[in-house]
């Protein structure tokens, strides 16, 4: 199976298992009560796979992954490995000057693959600018994500092709778009759900609070998936909140749950639970995926100025890919051949991404004036004509030489 064919494939049905209706709503409340604050001891969170790769039981969320097949487990592993490989390639391309900037997802693969694979084809995703793993799950060609980072467009993909909205750079704004979209889904009487991604930093934005208010008031079928990766560039989560983020939901009147963001199974199960609540008309849910940004905020950032190596090292032990590999090996769900094949597939993906990016042409100069308006605008027409005349004046000068 080639990388191209699988990457372009849309998710027909979310990975894991069939639905486990109406379980779980009660459980989240109890998790909320016992959880410590944002500092100090390890917070209580939903976990199905320990950092050591041991499967642990959870009466509430087990049903959502109960009949996951070994093939599906390998699929989740493959998704995470390929996403990480793509991400590393993009970082390299930035270092080589092929991209202007890159925002790495290193460390957040489980949160993104778990939640992304929980979505259905007819669900709609509103990402930040770091959801490369979710894009992968939605079937967006990863090279499409690189246009804006190379500077050839400001987004450029058709959001409706994969129900994956454009990356949103101003943090938190997209939570309102997701809420409005979900209000529309409800008006249409559809049983689709919407998922909005944001981070711990964005949780401080007024738009996020307003999206909580609107979604609660209108009972909109939306899941707020907050990847708390502990750092908003240089500011730790303590600079954003005095309570664990998932507890914010309570004040708005809907459930919040904290999940181990480095546990792909738990992220899959909890997101499926939340999406099914939305489908059943039970309204919004806040999922806080407790994870860690292993790399820099972007390629322009220098985390050595604000955080200690020991912190990163402590999170390396909780690596999302490592723990699933341990589990796959221990339960004989994957053999050496699988890992070797995946290694080769990863390299092929890296090579393809490299080649596509290097061949990506600069846009036509007149692209400046394209799509400013859907119905046209006299000033844009006038300025395009002026620009054309200006450009043409150089052509004449060149011919004269």
């Amino acid at each position: 199976m080639t990388v191209e064919s699988t990457a372009a494939r849309k998710p027909r049905r979310s990975a894991g298992t069939k639905s486990a209706a109406s379980a779980g709503a009660k459980r989240t409340g109890s998790a909320a009560k016992k959880s410590p604050g944002t500092t100090g001891a390890e917070p209580e969170l939903v976990q199905l796979l320990t950092p050591e790769g041991k499967r642990v039981n959870d009466a509430t969320y087990d049903p959502y992954v109960a009949d996951i097949t070994p093939e599906e487990l390998r699929g989740l592993y493959r998704d995470m490995v390929l996403t990480r490989r793509f991400d590393a390639e993009a970082t390299s391309l930035q270092r080589q000057g092929e991209l202007g900037l890159w925002a790495s997802l290193l460390g957040q693969e489980a949160a993104q693959i778990g939640s992304g694979r929980a979505t259905r084809e007819d669900d709609y995703v509103f990402p930040t600018y770091r959801e490369h793993g979710v894009a992968w799950c939605r079937g967006v060609d990863p090279t499409n994500l690189l246009g804006m980072f190379r500077g050839v467009n400001n987004g450029g993909w058709d959001p409706n092709s994969n129900n994956f909205h454009l990356y949103t750079i101003v943090i938190g704004s997209q939570t309102l778009h997701a809420t409005g979209y979900a209000m529309g889904v409800a008006k249409d009487g559809a049983d689709s759900a919407v998922i909005a991604y944001f981070g711990d930093g964005a949780s401080s934005q007024g738009d996020v609070a307003e999206s909580f208010t609107f979604s609660a008031v209108y009972n909109a079928p939306v899941v707020f998936f907050c990847q708390n990766n502990q750092w908003a560039i240089s500011e730790p989560t303590e600079k954003q909140t005095r309570v664990p983020l998932y507890q914010r939901a309570q004040g708005f009147g809907f459930p919040g749950v904290r999940v181990d963001g480095n546990d792909v199974l738990a992220c899959l199960a909890v997101t499926k639970w939340a999406l099914e609540r939305a489908r059943r008309g039970e309204g919004p849910t806040l999922v806080e995926a407790y994870t860690y940004r292993m790399g820099a905020h972007t390629t322009s950032d220098d985390p050595t100025k604000y955080r200690a190596d020991e912190e990163r090292e402590s999170w390396e032990a909780k690596d999302p890919i490592l723990r699933l590999r341990t589990y796959l090996e221990a339960s004989n769900h994957a053999d050496e051949g699988f890992f070797a094949e995946l290694e080769a597939e990863s390299e092929a993906l890296g090579k393809r991404v490299r080649e596509v990016v290097r061949a990506m042409p600069d846009p036509d100069h007149f692209a400046i004036f394209e799509n400013v308006y859907a119905d046209g605008h006299a000033l844009v027409d006038e300025e395009r004509a002026q620009f054309a005349a200006y450009q043409a004046s150089f052509a004449d000068a060149g011919e004269g030489k």
Binding site: N153, N154, G155, G156, W157, D158, P159, N160, H165, L166, T168, V170, S173, T175, L176, H177, A178, T179, G180, Y181, A182, M183, G184, V185, K187, D188, G206, D207, E210, S211, T213, F214, V217, E370, N371, V372, Y373, A374, D375, H377, A378, L379, V380
Partner: protein, 326 residues
């Protein structure tokens, strides 16, 4: 269908009703737009007839109103949102400027954002702070938005129809002090294009260009000038983005003098842009520099001072005299 005389607010109400009737995707959203019918009653009776699902009372959060309207538009709806007063739009400014205006271009044209944002604007009603502002230039400056303002009931009806049909976001500034002014509306007329200016009074000596609430003031000024033997042409611009410069140019080539009038501050305002463009287009026709009459570079004053701040008949005539003196 015969012409019907109605107030400007009622014309917008009828236009919204027509749109709600014609297209199930049209939604009305805003604060107090439901049972109350809006603080100016522009949406009066619409929720009763079309239901809470289509005429939606929202939480009091402007960014939330516009942000969710964007999401609804992405889902295929055509939301018409009301911002209760001009001075309340700024919590939504980020969603309008950063998200709504740019999204079509960011998607290389693959998605459309047919959102209308209605804003009652301007002064002259003796209101408290933040209820009398004219922020149209702040929106006209942003590529991706269209900005219009009707001056009379007929335009209000038709321009709202056209704004809702537009696949681009439209900021629809409603001259609140003219809400109760009545004029004739013909619902089966063929309307002018949304962004086309209109000569509302022919003249030979000078052009007064205005929009929204100032058109009436300019017509009064032109009538007063007539008594002094001056022939003033009045142009209702109707649209601040795009501006119909061709119509302004045609008028100025005839009259050779131009005064632009708006309530908004003069500095970097609509009039400044018109002055610059018309100077370029009509340099050899102009007998006088383009003059501007408008608000000052100061916060909108308390109500007891607003008559001094707002352009009135005498300030417009003063500018007319100064222009004719060149």
């Amino acid at each position: 269908m015969a012409a019907e005389k109605m107030a400007l607010a009622k014309a917008i109400n009828e236009s919204l009703r027509t749109a709600l009737d014609a297209d199930p995707k049209v939604l009305i959203m805003g604060e107090d737009v439901g049972k109350l019918g809006g603080v100016f009653r522009v949406t009066d009776g619409l929720q009763k007839d079309f239901g809470e699902d289509r005429v939606i009372d929202t939480p009091l959060a402007e960014s939330g109103i516009v942000g969710t309207a964007i999401g609804l538009a992405l889902r295929g709806y055509r939301p018409v949102v009301e911002i209760q007063f001009d001075g309340f739009v700024f919590p939504a400014y980020d969603q309008i400027v950063t998200q709504l205006a740019k999204m079509h271009a960011r998607a290389l044209g693959k998605i459309k954002l047919p959102v209308v944002i209605r804003i009652p604007y301007g002064g002259g009603i003796g209101a408290v702070e933040h209820h009398s502002e004219s922020p149209e230039a702040l929106f006209a400056h942003v590529a991706g938005l269209k900005v219009v303002s009707p001056s009379n009931a007929s335009d209000a009806y038709w321009m709202m129809q056209q704004a809702i049909q537009s696949d681009d976001p439209v900021i629809f500034f409603e001259p609140k002090r003219r809400y109760w002014d009545k004029s004739e509306v013909t619902k089966d007329a063929i309307p002018s294009p949304l962004h086309k200016a209109r000569v509302v009074r022919e003249g030979a000596d000078l052009t007064l260009a205005a929009y929204g609430p100032m058109v009436k003031v300019c017509l009064e000024a032109a009538a007063a000038a007539q008594e002094e033997g001056k022939s003033i042409e009045v142009l209702d611009l109707r649209s601040m983005s795009p501006i119909d410069f061709d119509s302004v140019q045609a008028s100025v080539e005839k009259t050779r003098r131009l005064v632009v009038v708006h309530e908004a501050p003069v500095f970097l305002g609509t009039g400044a842009e018109i002055a610059a463009r018309i100077t370029e287009r009509c340099f050899y026709h102009l007998e006088a520099p383009v003059l501007r009459v408008g608000g000052y570079h100061a916060p909108y004053p308390p109500a007891r001072l607003e008559e001094e701040y707002l352009p009135g008949l005498d300030r417009v005539l003063d500018a007319v005299d100064r222009s004719l003196a060149y």
